[in-house]
Amino acid sequence: MDQEAVQLEKRHVHDVYESTAPYFNDLQSKAWPRVRQFLQEQKPGSLIADIGCGTGKYLKVNSQVYTLGCDYCGPLVEIARSRGCEVMVCDNLHLPFRDQGLDAIISIGVIHHFSTKQRRIRAIKEMARVLVPGGQLMIYVWAMEQKNRHFEKQDVLVPWNRALCSRLFSDSSQPGRKKPCAHPERSHPYPPPCSVCSCSVCFKEQCHSKRSHSMDCEPLMAGTCCAAISKDGEEENGFYNTLGKSFRSWFFSRSLDESTLRKQTERVRPLKNTEGWANNTICIQPSRHSSLDLGHHEPFSTREQYLDEDVFVETSQKQLEWPRAPATMKHLHEDQQGEVRRNGDGNFLEGANASENCVNAGDVEGGHPSASKILRRISALDSTDSNPEETISVEEQQPNILDSRAFMRYYHVFREGELYGLLKEHVAELHVLSSGNDHGNWCIIAEKKDNWD
């Protein structure tokens, strides 16, 4: 099962950060106050590591200590280095430090990128290994419980709307700027697990590379096609508001831990088509503002996510239109693509007859290609969003959507108490000093026990 985990993390963590690293604008992100405080409280002369440092926003918080930044993502590390930070590329699961070499470690928005419980535990244990007795570890992970949204499941794929961005920009008075640019999703009203970005719209920070790198959530686009928007503050806000409201849907990934469990229970279901994708079932989280949430009477969480079962029931009136899970694009059959085009044609705002299907990926064990249906939700843009100029025809959007497949990031969002439980039950060498919630993250500070090694 670890191999699937490695593949999932490669596709939906490492590759995404590598591709989007150039677009992180570190000026936009601020350090989380509590993390800053933790760093500033360390004794002068301390040796500290930021495991999953991203572009290094925490590396210069305290000039009296020596802080090393580590990240799995080379491009992000290069950015940190260019800012004068001491950094290296490494893997959270195999830290290149001798035992008990460090006085403190921070892991901000990193271990939620590990796709199995075992790997999350290994990451924590590895950090504990390199701590001196009495040394402290601070961990931040994205919380499942949020004020502004409700996660139905814990394993989620968060997309970046690169395609939408490029299309919108070419719609504005920027003729000829049609090339898609890698473009991190602007902060949503429901902040993505943005490990590094502490801007007011995004909360939280980091993830990371489990080597986890922190995720510098960069609302600003660096792509040329976005340049025009960035200059115009008014327009930018409107643009991003639209982005956020239109594309609030996030994908859910089946937990690899669950998949293993299912394997053991020998569930056999009739499967229709053969499709394979990342061995995960993709389900879409309804966004908070969509009517789907309000009008939907079937709580998703009560439906078991079998491979070939519809995830969503058809809803009346407005529904969410998602330009098809990018990752599945390459597996689509011709007729299915035709269907999308047909429905996309001028029907962006109209969703009365849309039905929803779920695209299921192959089962983790690899032996059972899942049924493949197309998951489509028709997006109801509410009144403030309804602006034909800003909408995007799905048909014209197709090529860009295909390109954006690479930018979905995997997160395992943590329930209250889950992180604490992980340490308590599986990492006996650490003693939890404090835990709490900070801006939608569960955080913990733990200490390496004396006399352990």
Binding site: D2, V6, K43, G45, L68, M88, C90, G101, D103
Partner: protein, 113 residues
């Protein structure tokens, strides 16, 4: 990569364990970066170092020996290896340093499962 960082690094090739330290450093390009001298910082750092071969160990009272502290400051913090390699003394595995960044990623075969 500063030499202080080098002192913390160890090889984690499977099976190597504590014999993976210290990594043999071969620098092909080095730069000297001036760093503000902070005697207290350097003095605190010295006991944390894993000094394998010290011809003459830190003499008693080293923390007040400014000349000594400045020398350590220079070596640990001002020498920056831009290009080179770090070699695991046990397995011989080479880790590259490019543009000042060491790459310590191991392949699947080299890590413990």
């Amino acid at each position: 990569m500063k030499l202080l960082t080098h002192n913390l690094l160890s090889s984690h090739v499977r099976g190597v364990g504590p014999r993976g330290f210290p990594l043999r450093l071969q620098a092909t390009e080095v730069r000297i970066n001036p760093v503000e001298f902070n005697p207290d910082f350097v003095a605190r750092m010295i006991p944390k170092l894993h000094l394998v071969e010290v011809p003459k160990g830190p003499i008693e009272g080293y923390e007040h020996d400014e000349k000594f502290l400045r020398q350590m400051h220079h070596v640990l913090l001002e020498v920056d290896v831009l290009e080179g390699t770090l070699q695991c003394p046990e397995s011989g595995r080479l880790f590259p340093i490019s543009r000042g960044i060491p790459n310590m990623l191991l392949s699947d075969e080299e890590t413990e499962t």
